[in-house]
Amino acid sequence: MLFNSGQFILFFLVVLLLHYLLPTRARRWLLLAASYFFYMCWNPKFIALLLTLTLIDYFAALWIERSEGPKRKAALWFSVGANLLFLGFFKYYNFFAANLAQLLGGHTSAFAFDIILPLGISFHTFQSISYVVDVYRNEQKPIRSLADYALFIAFFPQLVAGPIVRAREFFADFYHWRPPSAQMLQDGLLMMLLGLMKKMIAADQFAQVANKYFASVTTTPGFYPAWGGVIAFSLQIFFDFSGYTDIAIGSAALLGYHFPENFRRPYLAASITEFWRRWHMSLSKWLRDYLYIPLGGNRRGPLSTYRNLMLTMLLGGLWHGASWNFIIWGGYHGASLAVERLAGVDPNRPIPWYARAPRALLTCSLVAIGWVFFRAATFRDAWYVLGQMFSLPPQGKFLLSTNLNRLALLTLVLATTEERWSWFDRLSRAPLWLFAAVVAVSLLLLELFSVTDIAIPFVYFQF
C-alpha cells in the first residue's frame, strides 16, 4: 500500500475517522491493528518477523531494567544481536555469501538463498536498537505495555521508511496524547499535500529519466547524458524520500503525533558536513548517537576522529544496501567529511551570501558524484558513468527535457526562498482563505501533473 495510492488515502481516512470517534483507550488498539494491516498488505508472512523482534526487544528492555552488571550488558547484547542477526540474514546474507563464494573460486550464487527483504526492516531494527540502548543508558524507562511498545515499532506512518523515531519522542506524544492543535492540523494537511506533490509530480518525472539512463548506461555515452542521468537521480531521490517523509510526518500530525524533521533543503548545504545535517536527519542523528559517539567521536584526537567518521559512514552506506557500491558511497562520504574536518570546515560558522552559492554548487556536485555509486547497478556501471561525467569535450544530449529543467529551477527557487523567508511555516499559520486556496491549487496540480500511468515505488522501500 503505497502512500501515494488511492488505497492508502482511503485506509488513512478510515483510520483517522475511527481514531477520533473511538474512546481514548481503544485508540492504541486501532492504531496497532491498522499498522499491522498496513504491513500485511505488503506480505502477510513477514508479520511473524516483526512480532518476534517486538517480543525480543520488549522483554530485553524489561530484563535490562531488572538486571545489573554483566547480566544487564548480556540482555543488551542479546537484543542488539537478535536485531542485527535478523537484519544481517535478510539483508546481507546473500551479499556475504556471494563474496565468500567468489573468494573460494565458486559461482556467486553457490551459497545463495532466495531471500525476500522484509519491508522496512532497516528502519524498525534501528528504532528497536535505539530503544534498548536508551533503556540500557537509563535514558528511557522500559515500556510496561506490550501493545504500546508494539505500536511504537509498527506505527504505520513511519514503519516502512522512517523517519527513525526515538522512543522518548513517540511516547511523549502517546502517553500525553492531546488532540492536535489547529496549527498542527493545518501543518499536517499541508505536509501531506506537499509530500504527494514531491513524489507524484517531481520524483516520478525525474525517475523516468534516471531509470532509463541507469538501466543501460552504455547506450547513451557522453558528458551531457551522464550529468543528465545523475542530476535526474539526485532530484528523484530527494523528492521521493523527502516526499515520503512529508506524508509520514503529515499523517502522524493528523493523528496527534510529532515526528522529527528528516530533510531541510539538503542541496543548499555549503559543505558535505552540513549536507548530513540536512539529509535523512533521523538516520544521521542515529548514527551519531549509537555509532559515532560510542566509537569515541572526536574526543580522542584527529586520527581517531577520521577513523570514526569513516567507520560510521561505511556502516551507514552498508545500512542502505548490501553491495560494494553502497559501501563505496559510504566511504566516499566518510572521506569527504574527514577532508572537510582536516580543512577546518565548520558548518556552524556563518558564510557570506556571495560564498554560499558557489560552495552549495560544489557540495551539490560532490553529492551528485556520490549518487552514481548509490544508483548504478554495478561497480562497472558506476565507473563508466563517472568516466563519462568527466569526459571532454562534452558530448551527447542532456537528458532532462525543457519542462524538467523548468521544474528543477522552480524547486530551486522555492527551496532558496523557503530557506530565506520560511514561507512554508508561514503558510501553516495562513488565514483560512489562503489555506483553502493552497489546498485547491495543490489538488489541481496533483490531478493534472502527477505521474499515474506507471507505478514507481518509493526508492527507500528497498532498504
Binding site: S181, L185, Q186, L432, A436, A437, S442, L443, E447, F449
Partner: protein, 357 residues
C-alpha cells in the same frame, strides 16, 4: 467555530474550490475546444460536433456508426439517388459501449434518424479479447460521461482497477485529460493551428475520400497445415498482424462477448424503443480470407437474439461475402478503395430497399 474546525472547514472549502475549478476547466467548452483533434477524445468530439452541425433537410436521415473498418463513403452513398441521406459518425477503435453514449448525445431527442446502421463482426459470438476492459473507452467518452453514468459505466469494466479508474475519471475529468493537457502546454502554437483547421480537414476527408488502392493479393492460407503465404509487399510487422488475426488460437468461451453485445446494443435498442428510428445490424466483411468455421465454437448468438426486439433489423449475414477476398482489402482488416466502393453501393441499396425506396 473552534480553530480545529476552522482548519477542517478550510480544507473542505479548498477541496470544493478545486472541484469548481476542475468543472470550469473540463465540464464546459473551455478546454474541449482545444482538444488534440485526432486523439481518442478529440476524434470522437470532432465526429460528434460535425454530425450535430450537419443541417437536416428531411426526415430520411441514416446514420452509420462504426470503427475504422466501417467502409461506407457517405458522399458516394448520397450520389446513388436513393431517398435517404447517409451520414457517418464512426470513430476508429470504438466498440458498442462507446457507440451507446455517442448515439445518446448525437440524437438526444431520438427523432433525428430514420435508421442507424450498426456493424458487427458476426451474428454469433466468439470470445477472443476482453472487450469490457478496454481503457481507451474512457478516453473516447470522457466528455460524454455524466455523473449519473458513473454506476453503469464504471461497473461495466471487468477489473477493479479499471472500475476505479473509470469512476475517478467520471468524477474528475482532468485525470483522463491530463496527457492531452500536457501535450497542449508543450506544443501550444502547433495545437492552436491544428484546432483552428480541424473542421475543414475533417470535412475534407469526408467529402472526397475514396480509400487506399493497395490490395492483399497474394495472401493465401493452408488452413490444414496452418501455413500462411503473404503478399510480397507486406513488412514483418504487417505479416505478424495477419497471423494475429487469421491464425489466432481460440480461448475458453465464457460468453463474455455475448453479454457485452447484449448489454450495450440492448441499451441502444432501449434508447429508441417507441421511436421511429430503426436499428439495422449487418455483418461486416470479415477479412481478405475467412477463418474456417470449425476453428471457433460459437455457442451464443447475441445479435440474432436481439433481432426479436422492436425496431431492430438484421440484414442478410452473407450480404458482403463477395467482398471477403484479398483483392478488396488493403490490410487484414480494412477494405481498400474498390472494396469501399462496392461496400457502399451494396449497403446503400440494401438499406434503402429494407426501409422502403
Amino acid at each position: 467555530m473552534s480553530s480545529s474546525r476552522r482548519v477542517i472547514f478550510g480544507f473542505l472549502l479548498g477541496t470544493f474550490a478545486f472541484i469548481l475549478i476542475e468543472a470550469f476547466l473540463f465540464r464546459t467548452n473551455l478546454y474541449r475546444r482545444a482538444l488534440l483533434p485526432f486523439s481518442t477524445t478529440g476524434s470522437l468530439e470532432m465526429v460528434l460536433d460535425a454530425e450535430r452541425a450537419r443541417p437536416i433537410r428531411h426526415p430520411n436521415q441514416i446514420l452509420a456508426i462504426g470503427d475504422s473498418r466501417m467502409a461506407l463513403r457517405t458522399w458516394m452513398a448520397n450520389q446513388l439517388g436513393t431517398k435517404y441521406t447517409f451520414a457517418f459518425a464512426g470513430v476508429a477503435g470504438t466498440l458498442p459501449r462507446v457507440w451507446r453514449y455517442l448515439i445518446r448525445d448525437i440524437d438526444p431527442t431520438r427523432n433525428r434518424y430514420a435508421a442507424i446502421l450498426l456493424p458487427v463482426d458476426d451474428y454469433d459470438d466468439e470470445d477472443w479479447e476482453d472487450l469490457g476492459n478496454r481503457s481507451t473507452d474512457l478516453r473516447y467518452l470522457i466528455y460524454r460521461l455524466r455523473y449519473r453514468d458513473l454506476p453503469e459505466f464504471a461497473s461495466s469494466f471487468t477489473t477493479n482497477e479499471m472500475k476505479l479508474t473509470a469512476a475517478q475519471g467520471i468524477l474528475l475529468r482532468g485525470t483522463v485529460l491530463k496527457d492531452d493537457l500536457a501535450d497542449f502546454l508543450n506544443n501550444r502554437p502547433k495545437r492552436i493551428d491544428l484546432v483552428s483547421g480541424q473542421t475543414r480537414s475533417w470535412f475534407g476527408i469526408q467529402e472526397d475520400y475514396t480509400g487506399v488502392n493497395k490490395t492483399m493479393e497474394g495472401l493465401s492460407v493452408d488452413w490444414v497445415n496452418r501455413r500462411v503465404t503473404y503478399p510480397v509487399r507486406l513488412s514483418a510487422a504487417e505479416r505478424k498482424t495477419v497471423d494475429d488475426i487469421l491464425m489466432r488460437g481460440s480461448i475458453p468461451q465464457t460468453g463474455s462477448k455475448a453479454n457485452y453485445m447484449r448489454h450495450w446494443f440492448g441499451k441502444i435498442i432501449d434508447q429508441y424503443a417507441g421511436s421511429r428510428t430503426k436499428l439495422i445490424f449487418y455483418r461486416m466483411p470479415r477479412g481478405p480470407l475467412v477463418r474456417p468455421a470449425s476453428w471457433a465454437k460459437k455457442q451464443t448468438h447475441s445479435i440474432r437474439d436481439l433481432a426479436a426486439k422492436p425496431n431492430t433489423i438484421l440484414l442478410d449475414e452473407h450480404l458482403f461475402d463477395l467482398l471477403e477476398k484479398p483483392e478488396f482489402f488493403m490490410d487484414p482488416l480494412h477494405l481498400n478503395a474498390e472494396g469501399c466502393r462496392l461496400f457502399t453501393e451494396i449497403l446503400t441499396r440494401k438499406v434503402s430497399q429494407v426501409l422502403g425506396e
